[in-house]
Symmetry: C2
Subunit: 533 residues, 2 copies
């Protein structure tokens, strides 16, 4: 197993990422939200660490001893600092609660297994002692996926997988790599680069999210046009459950019954803990080219993406901002991209390695579809800031604004209708609450039959910002569900989308999930409350 040189630092307890990455909101953006949205100038910083109420650890001694017997003393942490760092994910409501000093829901302990076998043993012991287990990778969930819910059990632990950080195997001929679940995005890339390969999975959470998390939530990266979604990269999965283990996937494709890998991909820790993933990898591209395009409107740009996806002539990255997102990016150009164009919709394209060969055909199709080339600069600016969005959100939370995102996917024929329905639902809900929002949208994942829609919402912060957002989110979720789109394209279900899952998969679909859970986790200790309604 190859050793890591650069370890990803832990995130801040009250913000995305690390202090190094944070920066105050640019003054022109602050002015924009004050003038555009009527946000009153007021600083709304986080409380200090000393003012945080971390719930007391309630781990019984006998349980602690049982866990220590498996992972050693260092592997069971019950100090407040460790528990605070595992008190939840990174959605805006998560951050708002912790910024206000509320970490009551912190887990009773943080447990750090060092091997697949230890995970298996821990799960068996937790089932026996009826201790809830919340798997924890990078802690980047924005849907409540790592919320330490007790689910009726007396204790809850966060099972932090960070020590599972090895490259177990690299099969250069088959272009597959077996990665342990705790590896963070940059760590996995470092290990693969040592052999000349890349995974090609770069979601906005890349700098902190983990391989196991990508698998457990069906993540999709910014380069999905070129490398595909994470679930589509997975050849093999190793899963620990309280009743035993699963090792699924013996071939690139199979007709040996249902594809059970697809039951554990997206299982969000509720059906097992993914400890190892064998994924397809690619030779690390030597060359990269970027190009930005402008389209007169969102519908024309979306149609151009459809033409590319249906012909199968796609860049590695293809994303299209709607008119408002394009305008805001322009107005705050030094921060989040933008360029020379005025008005219209910005499309970013990027070609890596062998994809460069299709660039001429892609650009012919984009031109024929009404696009105008803007050169490389705006696309390079986007690339420079591609992981910065969540930091900007934190900066805005400091200045009396509320910012959050949500996403869906639909077929091409229903995409515009879905987009409008969600935008209207959000606008109506927040307007009614006295905080008219900006609702921006982009397409960043395309398929022959449809695409994703990613919304960014900014508005003034109300008196009760958590319930303010919950109300808007419910309106958006209802609109998505009514329009027949999926409740989530790549953020997963967690707690926040659970109420719409029955709409999506039906009563019988939910019953099937429950039956699977009863089989692998009869005591129900695995990530209680997540995923299954």
């Amino acid at each position: 197993m190859t050793e890591l040189e650069h370890r990803t630092p832990e995130q801040e307890w009250n913000a995305w990422g690390t202090a190094d990455g944070a920066s105050p909101v640019p003054e022109e953006m602050r002015t924009l939200i004050e003038q555009g949205l009527g946000v009153v100038r007021r600083d709304t910083p986080s409380v200090d660490r000393s003012a945080v109420r971390v719930g007391e650890s309630r781990l019984p001694d006998e349980v602690r001893s049982a866990l220590v017997a498996i992972v050693g003393d260092d592997g069971v942490r019950t100090d407040d600092d460790a528990r605070l760092l595992h008190a939840g994910g990174k959605s805006t409501p998560d951050l708002l609660r912790r910024r206000a000093g509320d970490a009551d829901s912190a887990p009773d302990a943080v447990v750090l297994p060092g091997s697949h076998e230890q995970v298996c043993e821990l799960l068996a012991r937790c089932a026996e002692h009826r201790v809830a287990v919340v798997p924890f990778g990078g802690g980047t969930s924005v849907v409540g996926g790592v919320e330490p819910e007790r689910g009726g059990f007396a204790s809850v632990i966060a099972l932090d997988l960070r020590l599972l950080d090895g490259l177990v195997d690299l099969d250069a001929e088959s272009q597959t790599a077996t990665l342990q679940a705790g590896l963070r995005g940059p760590e996995a890339e470092e290990l693969l680069a040592g052999h000349g390969f890349t995974l090609g999975h770069f979601p906005q959470s890349f700098e902190h999210a983990s391989i196991g998390g990508f698998a457990a939530t069906r993540s999709s990266g910014q380069a999905s046009a070129g490398y595909g979604r994470f679930d589509a990269m997975v050849v093999r999965l190793r899963v620990a459950t309280p009743t035993g283990e699963l090792d699924l996937g013996r071939a690139p494709a199979s007709a040996a019954g249902p594809d059970l890998r697809q039951l554990f991909l997206g299982s969000e820790g509720a059906l097992g803990i993914i400890t190892e993933v064998t994924v397809r990898v690619h030779p690390k591209p030597q060359e990269v080219e970027s190009a930005a395009w402008s389209f007169p409107d969102f519908a024309t740009g979306a149609k151009a993406l459809r033409v590319l996806a249906q012909e199968g002539a796609l860049p590695t990255v293809a994303r299209l901002s709607d008119e408002l997102e394009t305008m805001i990016n322009l107005a705050t150009a030094h921060e989040v991209g933008g360029g020379e164009q005025s008005g219209g919709c910005l499309m970013i394209t990027r070609y890596e390695g062998s994809r460069i060969a299709v660039r001429a055909r892609v650009e012919q199709l984009l031109s024929e579809s009404g696009g105008t080339s803007l050169g490389a600069a705006p696309a390079e600016k986007w690339d420079h800031g591609r992981y910065h969005g969540p930091y900007l959100r934190d900066a805005l939370l400091d200045v009396n604004a509320l910012v959050e995102t949500l996403e869906t996917a639909s077929t091409w024929s229903r995409l515009e209708e879905t987009c409008n329905a969600v935008r209207e639902a959000l606008t109506e809900s927040l307007q009614a609450q006295g905080t008219p929002p900006l609702v921006m949208c982009h397409i960043s994942h395309v398929y022959p039959t449809g695409a994703s829609l990613y919304f960014t919402i900014a508005c003034g912060r109300g008196d009760e910002p958590v319930s303010q957002w919950r109300q808007a989110k419910r309106a958006a979720g209802d609109a998505i569900s009514r329009s027949g789109a999926t409740i989530t394209h790549h953020h997963a279900v967690g707690l926040d989308h659970r109420e719409w899952l029955t709409d999506e998969i039906g009563e019988l679909g939910v019953a099937v999930l429950r039956a699977v859970k009863s089989t692998v986790d009869p005591s129900g200790v695995l990530n209680p409350g997540k995923l299954i309604p």
Copy 2:
């Protein structure tokens, strides 16, 4: 719903396909097997229809009435002719039994629902009356998937879906079509062609197999390099079960938990009856180009296919025969392809529509990988005979030979080892039985991480040909399982691969399948004995 003009005729009871397609074995091939394999010249024809023992129908009157109440009198057939046509699939053992006059296992009735709703009602009634239900599409299973097993129930019916033959919806913008499950391959293509589209799914069983069968067995077609496997084409599934229905798939991709479509794709009628499938379709290609290539040996040709798959530069069809298959094809060239080359391995490529654009790059890679162009003729000959293989098998069964096929898939790094292990196991088993075989192999489905291996076995017929083959098949299956490859790449599990499923998905994987079955089919009437060990 568009109406069909050309209906697919029913297959013969004792052979593949229709009498029109059959032809006697070419004399040079008969000579070849006599000289090469020491097969004694002897005619071994099927018995006449009049000599067939069709088991008596044991459908109780009250069950018959209950079923007639749903589908009408015409929808419940208990005559011997109808039941004989549903007495099993088309594996060599299936045919050997029926050719010997044995149709004891014929179902008690053939029931023909006309709608999804009728399927739901029938399943509820059958569960209530404890009648086993074997879903029947084209009846082309070669793994015992449509064997009328009673599974401990007093009665068994074949649920023939042929009346579900509509194009329910065509979304030209999203390039999706919703097809009913009973449509045969050519029927689906006829309906789609009316709108300018093709499905692009052309397995060897194409002329008779059904859309529902493709989905239920994870079929893969000869053009999988261009259009993908059938399971990868599916956007949405409608499934009827005794406890209710499922309608799965709202978007091209989703992170809303496990992908339950993947639990019903490949479920082989054991978890529900697929009644409708929404699939990705493609504009019908206007142009087609074919090209054959020769490689010095199988390993060199396989490596060339790997290079294509890993770069993503693939023709629509890409298949490579090993040395022996190439030689046999040449020796019987007018029948099954072949061409001018001598020795080496034949590769067939075919480019449809937009794939023609990658031809130059593909051919550059094939040349660099040691290939020699043979021009279009051998590839066009292959295309001409692409659905003829099973007819040739029947002709060989008439002349004292035994012919059967089996298949697997593995990673590129283990492909050669798997191929050798299977070839040796088959050769050893059949040699030990006094019938030394020819074992031919080809690669016809390629992926970035691996490929399929398809074996054709020919030898003299022993005294007990069914058990002769069973013994060889067991040796091959054990070799596949030991080598870590999948027990089936596209033939499904049925009865014949059931014993290896536990090796493939583990005890817990099997327990998960059983839990799902208990939820959707608590009485266990759905296709008893298939899939789940």
